[in-house]
């Protein structure tokens, strides 16, 4: 049987006491769906200082292949701390719209 996604599990699929036997499966939890604003990065202004990466409380900002920092929107909660901390005003918070 193909493994069900966490959000598809029925009550019968759960282990006793909802015990989790698979390590690290909290990474499946999409925390990006409660965002009301999203950070938009203008990388032309970015100096790769990494302060956004350090301050992000969700730990969802990752370094890409070119050494720039970008948020993983699956997890980004839209708190705006990266926008507040960025010394170069790279990050702008923009209203989320239904897609």
């Amino acid at each position: 049987m193909a493994k069900k996604k966490a959000a598809e599990l029925t009550w019968k699929d759960l282990n006793i006491g909802a015990i989790v036997t698979e390590p690290g499966n909290a990474s499946e939890l999409r925390t990006g769906d409660w965002r009301s604003q999203k950070p938009v990065f203008d990388l032309s202004k970015c100096t790769k200082c990494g302060l956004c990466y350090v301050y992000c409380p969700e730990g969802c900002i990752e370094e890409n292949a070119e050494g720039y920092f970008e948020p993983n929107m699956y997890y980004c909660k839209g708190c705006g701390i990266c926008a507040a901390e960025c010394p170069r005003d790279v990050v702008t918070m923009v209203e989320e719209k239904e897609e």
Partner: protein, 391 residues
């Protein structure tokens, strides 16, 4: 051969836990439960019970310690009472939701304020919906027998839920009664070694008590409810096997002169013995009365209860707690709900009595039964009376 011993009921609980070979006891002493906590401490210190005794700093810690020890697969016991049960309240839910088969004796006690160490069912009713299996016992023998059954029920692979044994503070906890204790080898055969299905172990790590976001929380609760309902079948099996092995039989609803009786009294706990004496007197006076006693409080035995009251015209319910601003006593409102959809049902009259250790005598029960009948004839059974309160 079982031996018969005269012993205080709280100490008898300690002996039963010893016979059940508990691995961990984490308890904080509180009147009227103290002798359970103290006697178990003695039994462990004297080497009669090979267990770890955790002398915790509060009841909140007692139940928290129990979660951990039960989760690694240790047979775990605790006991508390009144305010202590209130202090551990939030952790009581965790035990059942995490499906940890802890056994807890609760010496039922009134709640402050005013401060009272005496018995009633206010503490029990506050944990009614915590998801534990809950059994009300009537006397010392039943306390010991059901403490043994509790471990067996809790740890059954089809159940794996915590069990509370409710014994009335002082009226039962502090009685010295003659009690039969089974032999160790008989108990060992009755309660097999505990094996938790997914224990906490470094060999195969698991995460317990995780965060449950809205996408999964209702599924966990449905699983819990189905599981608690299903435990009734196992509880009945265990009681049946206990009866066959030890000769004492237990059922979810106890009946006394109740078959065919037109007026029934309903009680829970140790006051049922006084109520039985009242029934004997009323029967000898030619009154058509009987008694039913709910032993299994959770899961509620709907079928057995409905069967027990099917011929009654009036059902007088004794509550030892008040649901303030609500429908009177919690037991009464619950049995009303259990009968509401039935075509044929008795008129139900609720009494609240025995609060904070106030005695109810044989005459008191006779009064409530007669008065209940009177109220039902007037059709004013939606009101409840606090028996014996000075106006």
């Amino acid at each position: 051969m079982a031996k018969k011993v005269a012993i205080e009921v709280t100490e008898a609980v300690g002996e039963a836990v010893t016979l059940a070979r508990a691995d961990v006891v984490a308890a904080y002493p509180i009147t009227p439960q103290s002798h359970i906590a103290e006697h178990l401490a003695e039994l462990v210190a004297d080497g009669e019970l090979d267990a770890t005794y955790v002398p915790v700093e509060s009841e909140h810690s007692a139940m928290s310690a129990c979660l951990g020890s039960s989760a690694v697969g240790a047979r775990t016991f605790t006991a508390t009472s009144g305010q202590g049960l209130e202090l551990m309240h939030e952790v009581v839910y965790v035990a059942s939701s995490m499906r940890l088969p802890i056994v807890m004796a609760v010496c039922n006690r009134a709640l402050s304020s005013p401060l009272s160490v005496w018995g009633d069912h206010s503490d029990v009713m506050s944990v009614r919906d915590t998801g534990w299996i809950q059994i009300f016992v009537e006397n010392g023998q039943e306390t010991v027998d059901n403490t043994l059954c509790a471990f067996r029920i809790a740890e059954d692979p089809r159940v794996v839920l915590p069990v509370m044994i409710h014994l009335d503070g002082f009226h039962l906890s502090h009685m010295i009664e003659p009690i039969f204790f089974p032999e160790q080898n008989e108990v060992d055969k009755f309660i097999p070694p505990y094996k938790y299905p997914l224990p906490l172990t470094p060999e195969k790590p698991v995460s317990m008590g995780c965060f449950g976001a809205p996408f999964i929380y209702p599924e966990t609760k449905k699983a819990q409810e189905v599981n608690l309902e299903a435990s009734k079948k196992v509880i009945l099996e265990v009681w049946k096997e206990f009866g066959e092995k030890f000769g004492r039989n237990y059922s979810p609803v106890e009946k006394y002169h109740s078959d065919g009786a037109k007026t029934l009294l309903l009680t829970m706990g140790s006051y049922s013995e006084t109520a039985m004496a009242a029934m004997d007197e009323m029967r000898s006076e030619g009154k058509d009365v009987g008694l039913i006693r709910i032993r299994l409080w959770r899961p509620f035995p709907f079928a057995e209860f409905r069967e027990a009251v099917k011929d009654a015209e009036v059902l007088v319910v004794l509550d030892r707690a008040i649901s303030y601003g609500g429908p009177g006593g919690p037991v009464c409102s619950e049995v009303r709900a259990a009968l509401y959809d039935q075509d044929k049902k008795p008129k139900i009259v609720g009494f609240v009595a025995g609060l904070g250790g106030r005695h109810i005598t044989v005459d008191g029960f006779k009064y409530m039964v007669n008065r209940g009948k009177e109220i039902s004839q007037k059709g004013s059974e939606n009101e409840f009376e606090i028996y014996g309160v000075r106006e």
